[in-house]
Amino acid sequence: MSLPTAPQHPVAWQVQSAVRPSSEFVELVARSGAQDVGRCYQCRKCTNGCPLASEMDLKPNQVMRAVQLGLQQEVLGSRTIWICAACQTCTTRCPNDIDIAHTMDVLRQLCVRLGVTPAEPNVVRFHRLFLDSVRRHGRVFELGMIARYKLASGQLTTDMKLGWELFRRGKLNFLPDRITGTDEVRQIFKETMERTA
């Protein structure tokens, strides 16, 4: 009997070496808004059409299988859920009508809600600061948001030239564009973000 050789992918190795299937995670994912993952039969159409599959640690079809198997840490700690650009190609093409792109939303939300360290912290930072800008002003104040992102991520000098070129062309406003309904918008944030905190 020959020993199995380790596959290239570390997570795939974990899957192969220590699978104890559990339905808890797939149920949690279903309760959180993605009910269809169980339908995946691994045709890989999602992965074949995914523009960023080559950059992902778990391919989209592997995410689906890992959710079915209950590999919560591997899924929520993956780069994949944050690298997904939400282009909706997988959802459009899935022969089982699984909303894969929305499943990625649900997984990102679970990652944050359960306090799992995100594999792409800067992506999370960006989205949080974008939303905070919307909460404050009702619309995004690009210049302020980017400045705060730079401070938070430590990427102080990147894109300085581009920023200047955009500013010079009047594409970045100096001041935020406030709406009169900011209270209403803040209330939406309060009610929805607190509920999931």
């Binding site: 808004g33 523009p51 960023l52 950059e55 690298i83 650009a85 939400a86 282009c87 909706q88 190609t89 959802t91 459009t92 909303d99 792109a101 939303d105 649900v106 990102r108 939300q109 944050v112 792409e120 800067n122 992506v123 930072r125 960006f126 989205h127 949080r128 974008f130 939303l131 919307v134 009702g138 619309r139 995004v140 690009e142 980017i146 992102y149 991520s153 990147t158 894109d159 581009l162 070129e165 955009l166 062309r169 009047g170 594409k171 970045l172 709406i179 009169t180 309904g181 209403e184 918008v185 939406i188 944030f189 009610e191 929805t192 973000m193 509920r195 999931t196």
Partner: protein, 270 residues
Amino acid sequence: MAAEYDQSIRAVCTALEVELAELPDWNCCGASSAHFLNDELALRLSARNVRIAQQHARDLLVPCAACFQRLKHAQKALRQMSRSTATGPINGTIDVLHVNDFFCRPEVLSRLRVRVVKPLSGLAGAPYYGCLSQRPPKVTDAPRPENPTGMDALMRIVGMTVCRWSYKTDCCGGSLAVARTDLVLKLTGDLLAAAVEAGAECIVTDCPMCQSNLDSRQAEIEAQQGKHYGLPVFYITELLALALGVGQPARWWAKHLVDPTPLLRTKGLC
């Protein structure tokens, strides 16, 4: 960010006698960030805009592909919710339209056709639709999400040569531009190379995120690939306005990072 898109849409609509009114006190739909982090937040931010439009009994004409998809999603959800409750008013009854779908309506197309004063003959462009005006079709109601043709038709009407390419609906990387710029450079780099291979002299889009990623990141891609593209990235409405002889195109060209004036000059278009 996209004043040239806004101004060119308004100029084209005025020329076609289409009356526009900006949605009062609209808020940001939350774009990718909201649905990445909180489904309910995403829905309620967009729903606020749909409700305002409904109060004013106006359909929504949406220039941005991401806003369009989020608003359409909210409009369908509102309609669904009010159907499931037996009493109360029906919500989400207004239409949410993406600009191209609107310009492609037969009655608008026929007006456009007869008002072209400066055909853009000899200008070859690759129509680039990106993701969210098309996908997912159960939200967008796009009739041909894998091979949309609306912008192709508009380009032909103003006399352009439409380049055939298979990247029409490939993703530009969207909001990853800030936190994972490397991924956006890879995706947009592939798009630029494919457009040139298809014989395009410019890319034509209807999505501000796509325009920004392809235009503002082009210099970095050129440095990375050691190639020169110099491929202008136009909003479709900038070109419609140019062909209709309306608006102030010179001001719009000044907003582009890849200057379109050398190309337009060789075609006698500026």
